[in-house]
């Protein structure tokens, strides 16, 4: 199954604008929607937001009135697409319930990308952050109980994604220098790697923006604190992922790649959607994006004299991006990489960091005075007599992260204990 948007015909741009009632779509039923339909809605909203922001940035960096006109025209349509997608989310889906959906997207999207990624270094980049989003899901799921939501996190995830600790959130806070990775090059990287990178940047950026703006909605001080703590990690994730993008591309090449990526993703959603009404929206937007891509390609041919077919894959994209359960893979990643720590662009076992590494200093700065991601678990234990976990495949694969495991044996804690001993000495 392959898809080449360059060989398809889209809807002419002048016919793409919709009226208000067409955009104000009926939302899905939060109690009945399939978890991966919700995931696709959250995900494609993020993709559209990135398309809009990228177009605005391009417009601010060009003096060419013709380019600005084309960008403004297409961007207005992208804004309509974003509304039609994001307005599928119902008003009675609370912020915390929607947050569980966001983290399920982060987990199962990143896991799929890591599994499909042809480059071994980039696979490590995805696997590293995967375990952090996996842990956020667990922290928010415990918060959801405390907020009296009336349903469990597993009702949102549908049991398709396990909920248990990943690399604990308190250890995600690191010196910003250690969030920068090695960029790919469009010339030499596999197209799958290029598409994966654009996709994950958009998704993480949306999560970052969501927590930046919605994290102050709850009244409970602990809920507000947890949102702000995890929002800071999402800033790390956006930095982490955007640093793998090729920084040498022209604005037009970047635009073409964004439009190509949107085509691939709407086609993917169309292939995998089980809700007929939502699938019709994916199909409509795909037809629009094919035209956006054609316009971007035409601009690049005319302005830069470069044919995008020279760098886009001749055969198109081989597989649709798929939201699916990744339980076994996640357990494998937990076993292999839970003790990883970044040192500049590389990943090393945390025990290999030098004793005076900046990570430890940063940890001391931000984690002094109470850590919300730990407090939420402690409060859940106090109020419910234990933690909230949703585990379907047996014990946690890392003994020290089991609810009644020997937590002191967790590698990060052992390294911190070594640090404390050194300081005392």
């Amino acid at each position: 199954m392959t898809f080449n948007p360059l060989r398809e015909r889209g809807i002419p741009l002048e016919r793409q604008f919709r009226n208000w009632s067409e955009l104000n779509v009926a939302p899905y039923d939060t109690h009945d929607v399939h978890p991966y339909t919700r995931a696709r809605v959250i995900f494609m909203n993020g993709i559209e937001v990135e398309a809009i922001i990228n177009s605005h940035q391009f417009a601010r960096h060009t003096a060419d009135t013709g380019i600005k006109q084309n960008l403004a025209m297409v961007r207005r349509v992208e804004q309509q697409q974003q509304k039609a997608v994001n307005w599928l989310i119902p008003g009675d889906e609370s912020t915390i319930a929607n947050t569980i959906g966001y983290e399920q997207v982060a987990v199962d999207l990143t896991a799929w990308l890591a599994r499909q990624e042809p480059d071994p270094y980039l696979t490590r980049v995805y696997e590293f952050a995967l375990l952090e989003d996996f842990d956020h899901l667990y922290r928010y799921a415990n918060l959801m109980d405390l907020m009296g939501e009336g349903r469990k996190a597993e009702d949102i995830t549908g049991g398709l994604t396990e909920i248990m600790p990943g690399r604990p959130t308190l250890f995600h806070h690191r010196d910003p220098h250690d969030t920068l990775r090695r960029p790919i090059t469009l010339t030499a990287a596999d197209t799958q790697s290029v598409m994966n990178a654009i996709t994950i940047v958009a998704a993480e950026q949306q999560t970052m923006n969501y927590y930046m703006t919605r994290g102050n909605i709850p009244e409970d001080p602990l809920a507000r604190a947890l949102y702000l703590e995890i929002a800071q990690v999402e800033e790390e994730h956006v930095t982490h992922y955007e640093s793998i993008l090729d920084p040498t591309l022209s604005w037009l090449t970047n635009l073409v790649l964004h439009e190509y990526n949107e085509c691939w993703l709407y086609w993917s959603c169309m292939q995998t959607e089980i809700d007929n009404r939502v699938r019709a929206l994916w199909e409509l937007h795909l037809a629009m994006e094919i035209e956006h891509l054609r316009i971007a390609c035409e601009m690049q041919r005319e302005i830069e004299g470069l044919d995008p077919e020279s760098y886009l894959p001749a055969q198109g994209m081989p597989e649709p991006l798929t939201f699916e359960s990744n339980k076994d893979y996640l357990r494998d990643v937990l076993r292999r990489t839970v003790d990883w720590a970044p040192y500049d662009a590389r990943f090393v076992p945390v025990s290999d960091l030098p004793d005076d590494h900046r990570f430890f200093d940063f940890q001391r700065k931000v984690n002094t005075g109470g850590i919300p991601s730990e407090q939420v678990i402690e409060r859940h234990r106090a109020e419910f007599g234990g933690e909230y976990r949703s585990v379907t495949e047996g014990d946690h694969p890392v003994e020290s992260l089991r609810e009644h495991g020997n937590h002191d044996r967790f590698p990060y804690l052992q390294t911190r204990a070594r640090q404390s001993a050194l300081e005392e000495a």
Binding site: P120, R182, I184, T187, A188, A189, D246, A345
Partner: protein, 172 residues
């Protein structure tokens, strides 16, 4: 006697550095780039370690600390690049310095107390001129896109280092 030895060592370093800069300016093969970039980082980190142990000048010590941090970063970026498919088939970097850089470190270690800071600054200018030349030539004409990217990302940092150590030398 010590002054004479310092002078001979300085001339030796300068001749080696000038020849090396010429060689660096024509490096376009991936294996050659990786070897020279890795040795350059290793030399910088080792020289800065000596400077932190020996110098009492705050400006020199601050420079040395910056060199350790920045050249550790560039070392890690090179290592990360070598983990990618884009560099498949490129030889891994050597695990030790070449004779010229070892000799430079010996000269630094042997420098008299009075001339240490000046020797470190002189070597830093030579070494950064060589590294800037290597990064510039490979970024423009190197045969591997990922390593060209490494050179392109590293060059501005090295150029700022070069301006900084020239300023440092002028102040000593």
């Amino acid at each position: 006697m010590a002054e004479m030895k310092d002078m001979v060592n300085k001339v030796t370093d300068a001749i080696g550095g000038t020849m090396a800069k010429l060689g660096a300016a024509s490096t376009t093969s991936a294996d050659g780039f990786v070897e020279q970039a890795a040795i350059g980082d290793a030399y910088e980190i080792a020289a800065a370690g000596i400077a932190l142990r020996r110098s009492r000048n705050d400006a020199v010590r601050t420079t040395a600390a910056r060199m350790i941090s920045d050249h550790t970063t560039s070392r890690h970026h090179l290592q990360a690049a070598l983990e990618m498919n884009e560099t498949r088939g490129v030889a891994l970097p050597p695990d030790r310095l070449d004779t010229r850089r070892e000799t430079m470190l010996e000269h630094l270690a042997e420098a008299s107390e009075d001339s240490f800071d000046r020797t470190y600054a002189d070597q830093q200018v030579l070494a950064h001129e060589e590294t800037a030349s290597l990064m510039r030539s490979y970024a423009e004409g190197g045969d591997n896109p990922q390593l060209r990217s490494v050179a392109l990302c590293t060059l501005p940092v090295v150029e700022r280092h070069l301006a900084h150590v020239k300023h440092l030398r002028a102040q000593l």
